[in-house]
Symmetry: C2
Subunit: 353 residues, 2 copies
């Protein structure tokens, strides 16, 4: 397709947590985004509302972003359903000749009204989560010295994708052939490839992830995006299939400082970090020996002083290097990954950095 | 539908392990089965080939079972695909006015040729695995004193369904209001309800199972069929979603004596039973305290003497009651379940038995 000029639909939910997909696309593809569409806050900017995206404007109407050729749905609600009020915005976008990009579980291309209008107008619908995965895992032919690092979490929506992307960028900057392995709709929108594991039929999750690894192991280091948590009441099936499908050598634990309860289920307390490390190591090691080698702390809710105290406390508690990849940069974790790699594969020559 | 008179298609695979679905349907619905269809072994009986089903005949042609009104696919191959050679048998069955029952991942009702023929002839297709589960788990409103017992396994195809059914039958015989909760295609064919969890989109596995529990907790004791194993390279996603969706009070470990490697992956050794107990208790207890309270040993490959020695050895190793629910009957495990229930819910009056 020709160059994308995207309007991101975040109507009424333009906040860093309410519009997770929007925040990430704005962060990593700022040149492609011409506006956010939120009828409740026109005139503001992405920078003001999301903390990223600088002067990208918020508009109330598609007509206010005349050069756009793509409407991207910028939220990932629990259950993945399309808010009812958005239907007429999607139909208007189609009428304006815009393509649609959606990561919802409710596929737009299966919606008779939307698909019919798109077909009539000749625009395309990209349902990022749509897949037809039907292969089981075989756990064969894994490249021995392709390092697989997997981000695992205490909860969903803590920053596993962000940590994976930042670590990949940092490793590349140091001259390594690293690749971000996207496993969720937002990651796929950013990276352009990957597998929407949470929308794969459960029998084939492990197999779909393994296929993704086999297709990318010509790279030297894979940073595999985690999903949910092994302790998540809703999504643990996804998490374990992903863990066993990607058979990581090492894991980076991701959590949000200050969060006490499961995201969206505030009546269920989070499982402590120490236990999360233990269950991830136990479950990963059913496939092959695997260790948590560092912690990516999401400290967005903390002051700089609080963040330092938290970093210190968690590092001491878990005996692991800790950083916030946004606040501190990812270097501490990149050092940990490279040292781990050197220890695992001593035959590989150390590269610069 | 009117009374089913079933031919079970097991062509070329009429063995207890090759035709798992057939064996179970024959075992629990013998009056509905008029014949097995296997072109390679006509003239034999179900009893000879499957060890169950007595004199139910094996025929080579549908014409040899003229009274039948239903063709049921009697295998559950890895990946769930339709063997290519069976297509013309299905089309012939449709032509004879028979309904189709299938537990394959490849839905017959989505196959243009088969669905077209069925529609033309006015026969019905029951794709047991077809579902549209789209609800996440909430972990709310569970009845406190409805006992949830979940069969968990060292591997797939070890007898978790069989153990669950036998325990349910045994508990009912002792006057308890027990219900078998089917979670796989064969269990659903036998029980008439349930959820095909391995065919549910991974984000919704936990939720689909929870829904099944909520719909059945007017019964006093639920025996929830397990799937795969937490250690299974292919199916662990299904297993953990099921475990966290049904939040069991207690678990029964099921394994096949003498099996050394993962079913269908003979290059991967099984995880030892002790470790399987440990990971199931650890992972279940992330939701609520849960224990393995007994072991259902599948000793089909052993002599009576070997079975006794194995039972003794495993009981000592794990410190748990052990029996083969077919060879010994389920009483030892039923006693364990009732004692466990009495301890958990001392306010419930002990019933006879």
């Amino acid at each position: 397709m020709s160059e994308r000029r995207i309007v991101i639909l975040t109507d009424g939910r333009t906040t860093p947590t309410g519009a997770k997909t929007a925040s990430c696309v704005v962060r990593y593809k700022p040149k492609e985004v011409v506006a956010l569409l939120d009828t409740t806050q026109p005139g503001k900017t992405a920078g003001e509302l999301l903390g990223v995206g600088g002067s990208i404007p918020v508009v109330a109407n598609l007509a206010d972003a005349p050069g756009a050729n793509t409407l991207l749905i910028g939220i990932a609600p629990s259950g993945g359903k399309l808010p009812a009020a958005w239907r007429k915005i999607l139909l208007e976008a189609i009428d304006r000749g815009m393509n649609l990009v959606s990561g919802l579980h409710d596929f737009l291309s299966n919606d008779p009204e939307i698909a019919g209008a798109a077909s009539k107008k000749g625009v395309e619908i990209y349902d990022v989560r749509k897949n037809n995965e039907k292969d089981v895992s075989n756990r064969l032919n894994l490249r021995e010295d392709c390092l697989r690092i997997h981000t695992v979490g205490q909860d969903c929506s803590v920053g596993k994708m962000l940590a994976s992307v930042e670590l990949t960028i940092g490793l590349k900057k140091r001259g390594h052939d690293a690749k971000f392995i996207a496993t969720g709709q937002t990651g796929i929108m950013i990276e352009g490839d990957g597998c929407p594991v949470d929308c794969v039929v459960s029998d084939f999750v492990n197999g779909a992830v393994e296929k993704l690894i086999l297709a990318n192991q010509h790279h030297d280091i894979l940073l595999i995006e985690g999903q949910g948590s092994l302790s998540h009441p809703r999504y643990s099936a996804v998490t374990l299939g992903l863990l066993h499908g990607c058979v990581p050598h090492g894991m980076i634990l991701v959590y949000e400082a200050g969060r006490k309860n499961v995201h969206g289920m505030d009546y269920i307390p989070l499982v402590p970090l120490k236990k999360i490390v233990e269950v991830n190591e136990t479950m990963a090691s059913l496939a092959m020996p695997s260790k948590v080698i560092g912690v990516a702390m999401n400290s967005r809710a903390l002051s700089p002083e609080e963040a330092e105290a938290e970093r210190e406390r968690v590092g001491r508690e878990l005996g692991l290097p800790v950083c916030d990849v946004i606040r501190h940069g990812p270097d501490v974790l990149i050092d940990a990954i490279l040292a781990f790699r050197q220890k695992l594969f001593p035959h590989l020559k150390a590269k610069a950095g």
